[in-house]
Every structure is written in structure tokens, then in C-alpha cells.
């Protein structure tokens, strides 16, 4: 895989006796925006910290742009910008001083002002950071990750604390940079935040990768359902199953629609059997639901 900027292979990580990452493998293609999604405590931040060479891992391999990454091998970090968990901010410095402090010497003043402008931080960039709100700090943290225009950007729950407008601005910035060739790994515990943004999705739960897929595939993977309400759901389920219809699990009577499913046939079949139909709905199970199903799935077992 020559065009993967990040390769994580069989990564295991323990905190004391607790195994936090279990055989995690995934890769990030150059130029893609990859979403790392999972519930709180799944191990998203831990993966990102390992990728940034912040701590030792028990076994596995991490490569960024062909260079190995570990606490004693940081060369690749020169190409990486990151925001992990919450932004680290010195209260006695202004936002602009933060940018000066953490940007490379090769980064020009224009570049500093450019990111300030894009993040719409002009009005408070010269104020001391101790006066910043949570959202302002978050924006500064994102600006610090982007200011050097790194090849690879890692953002951990970047939408935290941002208002809807800032959220939208951030998406625009990320999409713009991605168009120019920047690669992103972005985590979130809310899939819908990333839905409009990412090319590929990596889903993690309890320290294990449960799913990796391109967004396009995932979207088309959603099921279409025909949900019925009848005078006798139990008997209706029996009859439909006997007649070759596939039913979805759950209390409700829902038929998984295929190309050959015709509503008229269903109605006729049920009324022939003296079952009254009280309500019919088409339901397209969305991404969020398919993800929740995925996470409920027995694939993920406590070990």
C-alpha cells in the first residue's frame, strides 16, 4: 500500500492490566478524510496518542509516510499536526502568541494570519487565552494543528464545544485542505458529525476495530424496510415468513424490502388471511442506525 500515509498494524496497548487496544489495524490513504468513530472510552484518543508517538505500546507497528513511529522515533512528527482530547492552552499567552510559539520557524506571519482569518478568530486573537470560552480554546487548538500546513492532520473530537456556525466553518476548512492534498484522521463519538465529511470510516468499540469501510459502501448498505401495523402482528409474521418474506428482528413487523417486494402483494396476502392492515410505512435505516446495530452486534465481545 504505497499510497497510505498512516499504517497501523496489530496494535496492542495496555494500561496496567487493562487491555485498551486489541489488535488494532487500519490504514489511512493519502488525501482521504478518515473518520474514527466509537462510543466514549472505545480507545479513539488512545489510538491517536499512539500514532503521535506519545507512549509505548505492547506490540504492533505504526508507520507514518513510511517512517516508524514510537516514543523514540519521532521523525515523522514533522509532517503531522494534531489536537488530542482538549487543547492545551497557556492562560498567560494570547492566541496569536500560541501560534507563534508552536508554529515552525519556516511558517510565515501571513500563514499565521491566514489560519486566524479562516477560523474567524480575529476579534480575540490578541486577547489573553485565560479570557477565552471553551469554543474559542477549541478553535485555537484546531488552528495550532493546522497552522504549519502539515501533510497529515489528526483531530480528536474537534467539534467539541463549537457552535453550529463554527462547526460548519470547520467542515469547509477541512474539505478545502483535503482538496489540496492534506490527509485527515478525525475522531468523534457522533457519527452524524462526520457523515458529511469523511471518505472512509473506521469504527471502534471496546478497543477493537469492528468495521472499516468507505463511506459510499456504508451508505448503500443501509436497509429499506416496510413497517406494518396490523390487527394481528404475530399471525401476520408467520404468514409472511411462510410466503418467503424476510423479516427484520425486533418487536415491530417490518419486512426487509428487496427489488421484488411489492406492497400490493403484501396487502393482498394479508387481507386474504383476514388480517387488517392499520398502517404502512417505508423506512430507510440511516447511517446512525446501521452503526448502532453494528455496535450492538455480537462481533464485539468482552474478553
Amino acid at each position: 500500500m504505497a499510497d497510505a500515509i498512516l499504517n497501523v498494524e496489530h496494535l496492542n496497548k495496555n494500561f496496567g492490566r487493562k487491555q485498551v487496544l486489541k489488535d488494532v489495524s487500519f490504514s489511512v490513504q493519502t488525501g482521504h478524510i478518515v473518520g474514527l468513530v466509537g462510543p466514549n472510552g472505545a480507545g479513539k484518543s488512545t489510538i491517536m496518542k499512539a500514532v503521535l508517538g506519545l507512549f509505548n505500546y505492547s506490540s504492533g507497528n505504526i508507520m507514518i509516510d513510511g517512517e516508524p513511529v514510537s516514543p523514540t522515533s519521532h521523525k515523522a512528527m514533522d509532517k503531522v499536526g494534531a489536537l488530542i482530547e482538549y487543547p492545551g492552552i497557556y492562560p498567560f499567552l494570547t492566541g496569536y502568541q500560541h501560534l507563534q510559539l508552536f508554529s515552525k520557524e519556516s511558517t510565515s506571519k501571513d500563514q499565521l494570519m491566514d489560519i486566524v482569518d479562516k477560523m474567524k478568530m480575529d476579534s480575540y486573537i490578541n486577547r489573553k487565552a485565560k479570557t477565552y470560552s471553551l469554543g474559542m480554546k477549541q478553535k485555537l487548538g484546531i488552528a495550532l494543528a493546522l497552522v504549519d500546513r502539515p501533510k497529515f492532520v489528526i483531530l480528536d473530537e474537534p467539534m467539541n464545544g463549537l457552535d453550529p456556525q463554527a462547526n460548519k466553518d470547520l467542515r469547509t476548512i477541512i474539505l478545502d485542505l483535503a482538496k489540496q492534498g492534506t490527509t485527515f484522521l478525525i475522531s468523534s463519538h457522533i457519527l452524524s458529525e462526520l457523515e458529511k465529511l469523511v471518505d472512509d470510516l473506521v469504527v471502534i468499540d471496546k478497543g477493537q476495530i469492528v468495521y472499516t469501510e468507505s463511506m459510499a459502501n456504508l451508505e448503500s448498505g443501509g436497509k429499506k424496510l416496510l413497517v406494518l401495523q396490523t390487527s394481528d402482528d404475530t399471525r401476520a409474521k408467520e404468514i409472511l415468513t411462510q410466503n418467503g418474506y424476510q423479516l427484520d428482528d425486533g418487536d415491530k413487523l417490518s419486512i426487509i424490502e428487496t427489488d421484488s417486494t411489492k406492497m400490493a402483494d403484501v396487502i393482498k396476502l394479508l387481507s386474504d388471511n383476514d388480517i387488517e392492515i392499520e398502517d404502512v410505512q417505508h423506512v430507510h435505516s440511516d447511517l446512525e442506525t446501521s452503526l448502532l446495530n453494528l455496535l450492538k452486534n455480537d462481533k464485539v465481545k468482552e474478553s
Binding site: 494500561f15 496518542k49 503521535l52 508517538g53 506519545l54 507512549f55 516514543p71 523514540t72 519521532h74 521523525k75 512528527m77 514533522d78 503531522v80 494534531a82 488530542i84 482530547e85 482538549y86 487543547p87 492545551g88 492552552i89 497557556y90 492562560p91 498567560f92 499567552l93 502568541q97 507563534q100 510559539l101 508552536f102 520557524e105 495550532l144
Partner: protein, 258 residues
């Protein structure tokens, strides 16, 4: 490494407290100078005051203890430690850049203190004594001051290396500052007991608190009878303890999970 030291200095220079502390130091020294000039009966011999830089050395200790604990602990407190570490630099470099910054800061303090004490001498005591007057044990006033400076520089760094280590372990300024200050000033309280114990068990002379008598020993001809160590032994002892504390700091910092 130079970049990292520059960054640490940038942070230091953008703290208001840095300037407040320097100003405080000069004001306190001036107050002691004026008091000594006007009420020599209560405030003692002007030469003695000049030798200890108008109490400046004691204040430097306090300020440097605070600065050293804060330069480490603030990164944990503000959560900036991650930002520092996930760059192309290594952990060891980050820590050493902080040490160098503090070394420069301590040199700055001593220089400031020295220059100001010379100024006070010229302005307030020009007619009272000469720098070349004999002070004690055959040393002149200025020689005594310099020996004091060298001695306290070494002992202060012994204390600072411990403070840097504690700040690293506890990730908190409060713990490191209190133990550092207690450690430094504990000597005057327990030195009598310590000397007694040392005469009983001689190997106790190698304990780190005994090394803190270095500045006194440099200017006095008799104190080595109490410390049981020769001056070179004490200098080496101080340096070795400093090195040990720094080495432990280094290992702790490298292993710390963030």
C-alpha cells in the same frame, strides 16, 4: 535544542510574574540597603549586608524554586504537555531545554543581584567601606561576596534539582515548592542536631543537607570541623547529588504517560 530553549524563554518572558519578581527583588534589596544605612544599629554591619547582597540571595532561592516547579508542573496543569511531546522533538530534549532555561534564569538572577548590590554600595555606602577591606578569614569584602555567590549557586542548584524532580513526580507546583523551601531553610533549624548525629555516625556527613553548608565553608576557616568534609569534597558532593536528582527526573519524565 536552541529552538526549544527559545520557546521556553518565550513563555517565561510573557509571564507577568517574571517581571514582578525581578522588580520585587530590587525593591527588597533597596529597602534593606536603606535600612542598613540609616539604622546600622539594628540592621548590622553594612559590609555583611553587602556580602549577602542585601538579603538578595535568600529571595533568589525562593523565586527560583517557584520558577523551576512551575516550568515543569504548568505543562501538566494546562494540558500543554501533549503539544510539547508530539512534535519531532524527543522527551529528553524537552526536559533538558527546560533545565537550560532555568540555568540561564538563575544566572540572570545572580547577575542582577550582583549588579544591584554594587549599585547600592556605590550610592549608599561609598564612604562607609571599600570592596578591598578585609572581611573575615583573610578574605576581602568582594572576595567573600564572590565565594558566597559560587557557594550558593551550587547549593541552590542542589535544591532546584530536587524541586525539578518533585514537580515531575507530583505534577503540581504546590508540593514541589513547599518541599523545596522547607528543604532549603530546614538546614538552619536542624543543623545542630545534624552535626551531633554526624559526630556519632560519621558516614552521615555525606547527607545532602550537609552539602548545603558549602557557601559558609567557603568563607570560613573553622566550619569544616563541623561538616567533617573538605571544601572540594563538598563541591563534588553537591554536584553528584544534583546529577543524581536530575538523572531520576530524566527517567521519570521519559516514562511518564500523558
Amino acid at each position: 535544542m536552541i529552538t526549544l530553549v527559545k520557546q521556553e524563554t518565550f513563555k517565561l518572558l510573557h509571564k507577568k510574574s517574571t517581571y514582578a519578581v525581578s522588580a520585587t527583588l530590587l525593591i527588597i534589596m533597596t529597602i534593606f540597603g536603606v535600612l542598613t544605612r540609616n539604622y546600622p544599629k539594628y540592621w548590622g554591619d553594612p559590609k555583611g549586608m553587602f556580602v549577602e547582597m542585601f538579603t538578595g540571595i535568600n529571595w533568589i532561592v525562593l523565586f527560583l524554586i517557584a520558577a523551576c516547579s512551575s516550568i515543569i508542573a504548568m505543562e501538566f496543569q494546562y494540558g500543554t504537555i501533549k503539544e510539547l511531546l508530539y512534535r519531532k522533538y524527543y522527551r529528553g530534549q524537552i526536559l533538558v531545554s527546560k533545565w537550560i532555561t532555568m540555568l540561564l534564569y538563575s544566572i540572570y538572577f545572580f547577575a542582577l543581584c550582583f549588579v544591584w548590590s554594587m549599585l547600592l554600595k556605590v550610592v549608599l555606602f561609598n564612604d562607609k567601606f571599600k570592596l578591598t577591606d578585609t572581611f573575615q578569614s583573610g578574605y576581602s569584602v568582594i572576595e567573600t561576596q564572590w565565594l558566597g555567590i559560587v557557594g550558593s549557586f551550587l547549593t541552590i542548584w542542589l535544591v532546584l534539582s530536587l524541586v525539578l524532580l518533585l514537580a515531575n513526580i507530583f505534577k503540581s507546583t504546590a508540593a514541589a515548592i513547599s518541599i523545596g523551601i522547607i528543604g532549603y531553610f530546614a538546614l538552619s533549624i536542624i543543623s545542630n542536631v545534624m552535626f551531633l548525629l554526624m559526630h556519632r555516625w560519621e558516614w552521615l556527613k555525606w547527607n545532602p543537607l550537609n552539602m548545603m553548608n558549602l557557601s559558609q565553608q567557603l568563607v570560613s576557616s573553622s566550619i569544616h570541623k563541623m561538616t567533617l568534609l573538605s571544601t572540594p569534597e563538598m563541591v563534588i558532593g553537591s554536584l553528584v547529588y544534583t546529577a543524581i536528582f536530575m538523572a531520576i527526573s530524566y527517567v521519570v519524565f521519559k516514562r511518564r504517560s500523558v
